[in-house]
């Protein structure tokens, strides 16, 4: 059994293990068998992944082996200098910020960091920021604006941390302030949802000129579990809630909440980190090159108009 394998992935993982065990033997017969299994493997992935439910996508978005920002940074960028602290009270490890080089140009990075095992999960509070995380992000936003460098944000959080100190320090205001700052920030911003986009805690670094989403990422106002507990008072209806919330990349593209879906490697980003990173890099680079050529007042007007248009209602 492979770590963190999801129930619907089990046949894929089993086949993968068989293929891997064959690769150590090099007779003609096993080679032929391996080729056959590889074909089966690809078909199996195709079959399972072409009909994933919203809840299965949610599980993939939270997959324990899913690449997180620290996996992507060395694969997408040439250099990275991390910058720490909000200059007020601390350095929140749930949000990573810094400068990086992308295709020989400097960009600023603001990203949630979830961690992948118990020690790293705990070190970054499972990607649930406190106000100091959002205020560190705000500081970096202003820094990028001042030096006229684009910002790339990467979203991957269950949500802002619901804790006593977080409330004492004004979690709500910290999030709101970032929405306020980003909406008028005089530099291009591209946000990419790489895993879980958990409510206001995600949006706080997600107001952008272009919002991109990995194929199996999710982005929601509330977790399916939370929604089921509140609306049905029944946590067992989580799958239903996931479907009802319309939280998949495909749903959100249709609603024009996001601008583009970035395809994932066969079987999900966790099966091929390098390929996932290259796909992200390609799409971000394309958008960045376009955004760079728009003058700032026009860029801001477009960003503002985009958010003003969000909403579905009728006028009597």
């Amino acid at each position: 059994m492979i770590t963190g394998s999801l129930p619907f992935e089990t046949p894929i993982d089993e086949l993968e293990e068989r293929i891997n065990s064959l690769s150590t033997v090099s007779s003609e017969k096993t080679k032929e068998e391996a080729r056959q299994l590889q074909k089966e493997y690809e078909e199996l992935i195709q079959r399972i992944f072409s009909s994933l439910t919203p809840w299965q996508k949610t599980q993939l978005a939270r997959h324990i082996r899913r690449p997180c920002i620290l996996d992507y940074i060395p694969r997408i960028f040439d250099e990275f200098i991390e910058l720490h602290g909000d200059r007020l009270i601390g350095d929140d490890r749930a949000i990573i910020t810094g400068m990086a080089r992308l295709n020989d140009e400097t960009v600023f990075i603001i990203a949630h960091q979830k961690g992948k095992d118990t020690p790293t999960n705990i070190a970054c509070n499972f990607g649930m920021p406190n106000p100091e995380g959002y205020r560190k992000a705000a500081r970096i936003m202003r820094l990028a604006e001042r030096f006229k460098k684009p910002i790339l944000t990467f979203i991957d959080t269950p949500g802002a941390y619901p804790g006593i100190e977080a409330e004492e320090k004004g979690q709500g205001e910290a999030i709101a302030r970032n929405l306020f700052i980003l909406s008028g920030l005089k530099t291009p911003v591209i946000a990419t949802v790489i895993g879980e986009g958990g409510s206001g805690g995600a949006l706080a670094i997600g107001v952008a000129d272009k919002v991109l989403m990995l194929e199996n990422a999710v982005y929601s106002v509330i977790s399916p579990e939370g929604c089921a507990a509140i609306l049905w008072k029944d946590r067992s209806r989580t799958e239903e809630a996931a479907a009802t919330l319309h939280l998949t990349a495909k749903d959100l593209l249709e609603l024009q909440i996001i601008d583009e879906i970035i395809p994932e490697p066969a079987g999900g980003a966790h099966r091929n980190y390098d390929e996932a990173a290259q796909k992200i890099k390609k799409v971000i680079t394309r958008h960045l090159n376009k955004l760079k050529n728009i003058d700032i007042p026009a860029l801001l007007e477009k960003r503002y108009e985009k958010y003003q248009k969000m909403g579905k209602f009728i006028v009597e």
Binding site: E167, A176, G184, T244
Partner: protein, 279 residues
Amino acid sequence: MLFRKPKYATIPLPKKKIETPEGLWIKCDECGELIYKKDWHASQMVCPECNYHARLGAKERLQLIMDEGVEEFNQGIKSVDFLGFIDSKSYSQRLEDAQKKTGFLDAIITVKGSIQGYRVVAGILCFDFMGGSMGSVMGEKIALAVNECIKENVPLVIFCASGGARMQEGTMSLMQMAKTSASIARLSEAGIPYISVLTHPTTGGVTASFATLADIIIAEPKVLICFAGPRVIEQTIGQKLPEGFQRSEFLLKHGLLDMIVPRKEMKDTLGNILKMLYY
């Protein structure tokens, strides 16, 4: 002198034996005291015994705060069930029920008028309408209210009361946080004041957007103001929260509010602030 005996001992009064004919008396939710209905309304739904500020309807709030001659605008904007959202009830049904119950089309009304003679655009959230939840209509009406403020060069006052984002509109309700915050940013850039008044309760997505982005933030006494609700926090940390946590007085102490203003002084205070800031 660490301990000092109080000069007077507090003696609990015997429970008044009074008849309570239906509709004549109101029981205070906080202290349980029975208040004569006429007194209750005369005190603007504030308990004369314990100063508890009971929830005020949006219309009553308007009456209390605004001068005569209020004009509602954009009243025809209505929510639609664009996701086909069904939990124990369909969203369409919930909307219809809330419209019947409150007489409003959604959880906010926006008006033009004045406070103590000073012109304002005001938004009043209606908690009785699906918990004052923010969906597309609230987002649009706040955006339009801000446009009106900029066009007419008048300050914005918003009375908040909300359970947060409206789940029935999925991620689109989340986007209303971005939309309203972008509007407030434009208002701020235009140099026009925005005052928010937090009333019971102000939580979730409203707290994490326009409610806390005001130039001046006022709260009524003892209001629950939070991003994450007390129950969610208790579940997360596995312990009971201290008394008064996330209430107005707590937020004031932690530097998150400008002031706490009792209901009966609200209109005068708003008038004074408007005068000193802008008129």
